[in-house]
């Protein structure tokens, strides 16, 4: 059944179907609608869960950590400053290998304070040890929630589902609803063999020494690497069950083309339009969307890109004083593989700056003109407005 749903509502519906026993959150725009919907479900007994209004995002993620450690499926969501306030616990959860699932409604990070979409929040915790999925549409957001639980619980790693604030969370789009029974059969009941219980009085979260900390981290890294196959498997299994398939990457005419756009999240929509336009004009263009950013799907990307001669990375985050994050990691991957092709890195859409077809087309034209001077371009930047410290 197809329905016109706000992105936040679509996510909430999916969470409801996964039947978490504990939900804890703290309001922050643009995430708030998600937990408001969930609160309503609990109030209407459409979802039987403990809904806990935490005193902060830090508390919320900690409550979720405790709930999962105690053997319950749980959920939380946040954004921007809220996500950064969670940071300490995000690392801790990953280090303890707890299968937590959360949504990040991507939003810019202050100062200056800005509630609109970019990826600087989730990107800044990319090293926390969480699997990160970036979705393009409300449909994908809904579907990926179910997959996120599948992935987390199969590889005992936390999953962060990143969806663009406002651009998805507050946008009404037609969504094919999931049906409860199929979700049930897709997602087994939650069991956690390290759960806290008097029947197995073990210790979680013990300290380590120089002799073994490295080994802990290495084991975690290996699990991260392996998880790529589980992300793929989850997508395939989902396709079998629901008829919509997802993987590490999402490709659009990327086979054997000269220029490939690489981007994340909802920006892919505009890129698809631009690709159509350019191809109609006879240009050899395609696009690849990085659905799974952590673990970084280097091999899959190489397979798609090595035949092309030009890559344009459009990303909504960057490492201040260094470069675009995806572009940098892509360059590294290509160099490791001995593939030499030009990677044009563009920072775009920061703080909700609209990424329009025109902007993307200009970037394409520039890239044809040759490599840009800087490590990366700032798409559509108005330099006069940024001079003198703004």
């Amino acid at each position: 059944m197809r329905k016109l749903l706000e992105g936040s509502r679509a996510v909430a519906e999916a969470v409801r179907l996964c039947e978490p026993q504990v939900i804890a959150a703290y309001p922050i725009t643009p995430q708030t609608h998600i937990i408001e919907h969930l609160a309503q479900f609990v109030a209407d007994a459409e979802l039987h869960a403990e809904f806990i209004n935490a005193e902060s995002e830090f508390g919320a993620i900690s409550i979720v950590q405790g709930a999962v450690a105690a053997g319950s499926r749980a959920f939380t969501a946040s954004a921007s400053q809220g996500l950064l306030l969670m940071t300490e616990v995000l690392f801790n959860i990953a280090g303890m290998r707890l299968p937590v699932v959360m949504v990040c409604a991507n939003r810019a990070v202050s100062a200056p304070i800005n509630i609109f979409c970019d990826h600087q929040d989730s990107m800044s915790v990319r090293d926390a040890g969480w699997i990160q999925l970036y979705v393009e549409t409300n449909q994908e957001a809904m579907d990926s929630i179910v997959q996120a639980y599948y992935i987390a619980e199969h590889c005992e790693l936390p999953v962060m589902l990143c969806m663009d604030g406002f651009l998805l969370t507050h946008t009404f789009e037609p969504v094919e609803l999931l049906d409860q029974d199929t979700v049930k059969s897709y997602l087994p009941t939650f069991t956690f063999n390290r759960m806290l219980s008097p029947d197995q009085p073990h210790t979680l979260g013990a300290g380590s020494e120089p002799e073994n900390y490295l080994e802990y981290r290495y084991a975690q890294h290996q699990a991260m690497d392996k998880s790529a196959t589980i992300v793929t498997a989850a997508g395939d299994k989902f396709a079998a069950a629901f008829g919509r398939s997802y993987g590490l990457l999402d490709c659009y005419f990327s086979q054997d083309v000269e220029t490939v756009f690489v981007t994340l999240g909802s920006a892919m929509g505009v890129v698809r339009d631009v690709v159509d336009t350019l191809r109609a004009q006879g240009e050899s263009v395609g696009a690849v969307r990085l659905r799974c950013f952590r673990p970084f799907p280097a091999e899959a990307l190489l397979a798609k890109l090595e035949k092309s001669c030009r890559v344009i990375v459009l990303e909504k985050a960057f490492s201040c004083g260094a470069s675009g994050i995806v572009a940098t990691e892509l360059r590294a991957a290509l160099q490791l593989a001995g593939v030499s092709l030009l990677v044009h890195g563009y920072i775009c859409g920061l703080g909700g700056r609209d990424l329009t077809c025109k902007v993307v087309e200009n970037i394409y034209q520039q890239s044809l003109a040759g490599p840009i001077a800087q490590r990366h371009g700032f798409a559509g930047i108005n330099v006069t407005s940024s001079e003198g410290g703004g």
Binding site: R97, R194, H202, T203, L204, A206, N212, E215, Y216, A219
Partner: protein, 554 residues
Amino acid sequence: MSKLSIDPGSSVTNLTGSWRTQTPVMKNKWPPCGQTCPASEDIQAWLALASESQWQAAWRKLTARNPLPAVMGRVCYHPCESACNRKHLDSAVNIHAMEYFLGEMALANGWQHQKLNDNENNATGGKKIAVVGAGPAGLSCAYQLALRGYAVTIFDAAEEAGGTLWSGIPEYRLPKNILKQEIEAILKLGVTLVLNCTIGDIHGNAPHPHKRISTESLITDYDAIFLGIGALKPRLFQNSQYTDQHVLTGMDFLRRVNQGEELSLPKRVAVIGGGNTAIDVARCLRRLDCDVTVVCAQDPHGAHLAHPGAEIPASELEVTQAQREGVEIIYRTAVSRLVYSGKHLNGVETCRVDKIHDRHGNFNPVLFEGTETFIAANLVIFAIGQEVDWCGLERLIDSGLSKVFIGGDAAGNPRFAATAIGSGFENAMSIIDYLSGQKPYFDTHKKAEVTYKNLNLSYYAQSHRQTENAGEKENSGFVDTISLNESTACKEALRCLSCGVCFYCDNCWHFCPDAAIIKQADNYTIDYDFCKGCGICAQECPCGYIDMHTVLHE
């Protein structure tokens, strides 16, 4: 390896005992009460039982060392109480009254002593022991031997058993029937008592009606002989004739009073001497309505903390009670001569004492000339000590026979009944050792003492003696002893601090931060694998049962 969950208690592979630089050691100690008890009673132990109202068990624990609690509960000068650590917290435990109470209770309920091993002949090979003298030493020795199954016969020249307890202690302090009953209880163990019977080879003046046994036959008929003949020969004042009208000895006076003889006494009497006998005599005289002046060569109690030898030897309690009864005591004074007018005694001339002891430490007062003072008295009673009378027993002692043992006053001990009882016990043990060739087991009292500095007083509640004079009452100006009742006795027993003896309060077990003290059903063990030696268990042990040793103890 990187385990995401750690097994419970896996820390026990980390033996933190290696951190230790000092080591707690749990060891029962000998409380000062028992340490100072001349009869070596395990006072703490029987108080503990009493505190749980286990009266009979307490009495048995007490009588393991002293078969005469009702007697000693009256006549003992209880040094145990002066030693009691409790006095540092509030006031000493009233041990004297507790002993009295238990003794009374035993008599009231007719509790009987029980032999330690019933198949006596196997244990003792039917060995026979003669005990000469039915005083406290003899009774104690006979009792201990009989308890262990030996055949004992007691011989005494007097017509009543008890020795000085019978002849030397006035009725008001020790009713005769009490003494009789406790002696009865001893005899019930199968001890034979032969009275009116002199041992020895002397001829002539022995009291009547009379039996005599030669040392010869004693030596042949018995496997061991214990001489507890006391010290009955009074020391005499130089060249004065003892006539009933003017001059008596303390022992003679007390014996005759105890026999119930009606003495015609003048109003004013001087008693010479500072021992318990002198005080007994003085207190008797007060009860016979005489005005009494005690002339004593020593200083009062507490005047010479350095050498108590210079203080009046009678027990402090006796002295104070006597004074409360109106006895006048003149200290550091000695008699230089008796003052007669014709045949009639007017009084004594006394002098201040310069030195009390000569350079050999013997009691030999030197007087200040010119300090002569006259004390009016129509009767003088000398209680200046007794000596042992070996007359007739020479062969037993001189021949150095290994089967002959000597105890009590006769062995030169301090002249106290409690000391005699202790001496009787020790001799009994030696006799058994001699007869059986093996040392009998008994709790040796040679243990470290625990002072109140070893205690943690914060764990004890303040609680005062039932009454400061529990065990005493004023009776028409005279002090008599009374008993506690069960509830007051229980309260009093609970006041015992159990110095140096663990009473399972669990403090060490609660407080050990390292789970290194393991509680067992009836004690604690220290797990030295983990003990870090912090010393909290020792610090918080209320009774000083735990010590810290700086030497590692593995």
